[in-house]
Amino acid sequence: MARVAESTGERTHGGTPPGVEDAERRRATLEDAFELGEHLRGAWEATRDLGRLRLLRLRATLERLGLLAVALLLFGVAAISVAAAAAVHLVIGAAALAGRWLGDSGWGALGAGGGILLLMGLALLAVAAVRSRSRARHARSVLHRDAVAEPAAERAPAETASALGRARGDALHREAGP
């Protein structure tokens, strides 16, 4: 840098020796570079916080709508498609056996359809078991909470997803700092 300044013969203020001015310029540039880096870091953090806030809002919205409802909807769509596949297998297998064409493939298609239905039934049983267990746990926790007689005004908002999102947002805001 100093060599460039000397070779290009840049301006000197009054009687200041060129070496001193170069050192000052270098120091000021270094400070500016540090400030630039700090600002870039801050901009990156602010962008990240904006993304996190957006994610939090999305999560709060989903929780408000009911994640269970969304999951059940997805599960329902999947179940309907699997059931349709099973029905197609069964129909094709029955038709093949009735018409005596395709040979053993008819039994194979019937077996596949029956297997799919069996797996669906098992999956439904598993989901029902999990749901009943979680419902029982929830009921136990409610009973326990009622037993310790927590004030209703304190427990009602804490349960809502919106309060959860707000608390996360506050934490994020605190973490972000001034």
Binding site: V4, D32, G42, A43, D49, L50, L56, S162, A163, L172
Partner: protein, 80 residues
């Protein structure tokens, strides 16, 4: 408007302001550096631009992609 919506709006407005402040600060610092070393800035920019151009980033076939980048950047700037 619900309470969490209000909180979200306030928080995101603050964060956007913070981002804008940082961007303005970075711009000012860069401008100071450029003003202090104009020749170095020009040389460096030309060097970076030359290398990028040589690598084909600004080839005509990339213009649609650049247009998309500019559109996205404009939208992001308008939302700030």
């Amino acid at each position: 408007m619900s309470a969490e919506d209000r909180t979200y709006r306030e928080l995101s407005a603050e964060t956007r302001q913070r981002l804008q402040g940082h961007l303005l600060g970075a711009k000012a610092a860069a401008e100071r550096i450029i003003a202090r070393h104009p020749r170095t800035a020009v040389t460096t920019s030309a060097g970076i631009g030359g290398v990028l151009g040589w690598s084909g980033v600004f080839h005509r076939s990339r213009w649609p992609a650049w247009r998309k980048v500019v559109r996205v950047a404009r939208r992001a700037a308008a939302r700030l």
